[in-house]
Symmetry: C2
Subunit: 345 residues, 2 copies
DNA sequence: TCTAATTGCGCAATCGTTTACACTTATTTT
DNA sequence: AAAATAAGTGTAAACGATTGCGCAATTAGA
């Protein structure tokens, strides 16, 4: 049953010419006459020719495959970026190969090696939370393979990156809360060792400062992106002598925890307490109240990362580009106006 | 800056032997002495050798890459299956390459060709909604490449497949509603041309029949997996002279639409109307009420599909296996008991 | 002690393409 | 009309690893 594959040699033989001519015809080499090209194309069609990309890659020194490394492929943010990348690179005839680091640097290093061994044309990566050494990434650059970081970037390595302006995201979120009358705004931060969380925190600070609002130390909480953890810290926050009237979170999940705890304890959201999340996970729009959240432009991010990589691949540009995308505040219900009664106090 | 790559030839030269010995040592060929093997391993390490998988693949005739084709890579079900596959095949040294069909058969065909050209070792695919011809898949089989379908399978092609028992999923969902006192159960179906939706419908029918419950024709509605569409058809259903007291949906999204419409129109869910979704999307647990839904075991499905493929790859088994996984009914609030008042009527 | 089997390794072909180089013709240039 | 340029193909050497075949040296068999 197994069909034998046709190679360029058989096409050549059938046409009484040589493999090189066929190869050139197939690759649109300008030094081939239209006539020959057409004959080759027709014969290739007829013989059901399908190129062996392995052979081509071996010869060229790299494949038409882009490697992607993400912490988890099934998190909506990452899968959405992946989709964006795939859509973009496909236009140029590339495919994507996915690796997951599970937030472990060892896996990340292994993945990089595997991708290099597979002769990928370039790598797009969102580094793991743990990643604090960058030798594996430098190795990629030393081999002259384009490397693009996204979302979680690193200053200590001089390569292209695409991220959203996390500072601005948090800034506009906090600003929006303030416009709606909230003044005592607490902040749920992620792990501040990670740059995106530092940036969001800075955005929060700046917005508060620009509006002449105080930031009590107790209002800043580092909390994992998790519903139950969000509940827990909300309870602590609200039992403060001077509880906040709003929460700006670095994560949709901890924000959800906050909303849940608040509702269970008879706070009105919004009204008594305003809440904003970060990430714009799809579930935010199904909640009650629907949750205001900062959209991270995941698909755009993937698309842009792909474009930057392709640019580099095609040699148009070899200097590192740092692209910052603008996040979009998705205003929904959870952040609407502070209730009059409270506002009057 | 560009490092030169070390090949087995350089290792051979350094050890004053030949590439074939090095190759064999590296591949654990039994005909190499322990001593030689160790020397080779050490030297490979020292020279920073990294195998060129392209070359190996070219020679072997296939790569250590598994192709995956899904409609959309960023839908939680598919991304979760992908994650399962990746985790499993990685253990055997394989990588995965992702293609998206966007539910179009033309894309699917193109993807198959691209994967074949990339000499993937095998293909795992969930076919598009449109796919009604299978020549592209037969081509894969004719080239002796293992092929595994998942979730959306096809009877007309004799290859391995992994899916959940959709019949059982719907059956147990309906049964659970009946146990909770609901009797007038409507069914939201997907497109009945797709086998999984036919199966779910059959499960619903069987459960109703086994409990001697009537199925009015108006209770069966074909509705896309979409919140607004779910709202729309719910409105129609509830304005029937004899409206249902429960809805079993083939999709979480249309079920969500139902819940939304019902709440907006002052029906209690559960109580007045019970609702069950299908898919167990993460958002179901964040709703109010939390939504009962049938879990599709997506990660298991990926894992199993990978195992079936690997089995075939390693030649242990060349006959087609059809695996049916058991879905799990995730019982939450939306399907709890019919209220007494209504039940008394 | 002599043959037979086993072990360990080298030789060289091979996988299917790409591409630098050389070689014809045909076309311009001067 | 001779010389220079261009256009279109062919030759053959890569790319880096795998593997059937064969040869030598060692061990076992008898």
């Amino acid at each position: 049953m197994k069909e034998k594959k046709t190679t360029i040699h058989e096409i050549a033989k059938a046409l009484n010419t040589t493999a090189s001519t066929v190869s050139r015809a197939l690759n649109n080499n300008p030094r081939i006459s239209e006539e020959t090209r057409n004959k080759v194309l027709k014969m290739a069609q007829k013989l059901g020719y399908e190129p062996n990309t392995m052979a081509a890659s071996l010869r060229r020194g790299h494949s038409k495959i882009i490697g992607i490394i993400v912490p988890y492929a099934d998190r909506i943010f990452f899968s959405s970026v992946i989709r964006g990348i795939e859509e973009e690179v496909k236009k140029s005839g590339y495919n994507v190969i996915i690796c997951q680091s599970y937030e472990k640097i060892e896996n990340e290093i292994e993945d990089v090696n595997a991708l290099m061994a597979a002769q990928v044309a370039g790598i797009i990566i969102s580094i793991s939370r743990e990643t604090n050494k960058f030798d594996h990434l430098k190795k990629v650059m030393n081999k002259d393979k384009p490397l693009v970081l996204f979302d979680r970037t690193a200053e200590s390595i001089n390569t292209s990156s695409v991220a959203i302006d996390d500072f601005q995201g948090a800034y506009s979120a906090v600003n929006h809360l303030i416009e709606n009358g909230y003044k005592q705004i607490a902040f749920f931060s992620g792990n501040k060792k990670v740059s995106i969380f530092r940036e969001r925190f800075r955005g929060y600070q700046a917005a508060m400062r620009d509006n002449n609002l105080a930031i009590p130390d107790e209002y800043i909480i580092e909390v994992p992106s998790d519903v139950d953890q969000g509940k827990l810290v909300t309870e602590k926050l609200m039992s403060l002598p001077n509880p906040p009237d709003a929460i700006c979170s670095s994560s949709d999940f901890s924000a959800l925890g906050a909303i849940k705890w608040l509702k269970e304890n008879n706070y009105k959201v919004p009204g008594d307490v305003g809440v904003i999340g970060f990430g714009n996970d799809p579930f935010t729009q199904y909640l009650e109240p629907t949750m205001t959240s900062v959209d991270q432009k995941s698909k755009d991010m993937g698309k842009t990362a792909a474009q930057v990589l392709l640019e580099q691949l095609e040699g148009k540009n070899s200097i590192a580009r740092k692209v910052l995308l603008s996040p979009e505040l998705m205003i929904r219900d959870s952040s609407q106006k502070l209730s009059i009664k409270k506002a009057a106090v």
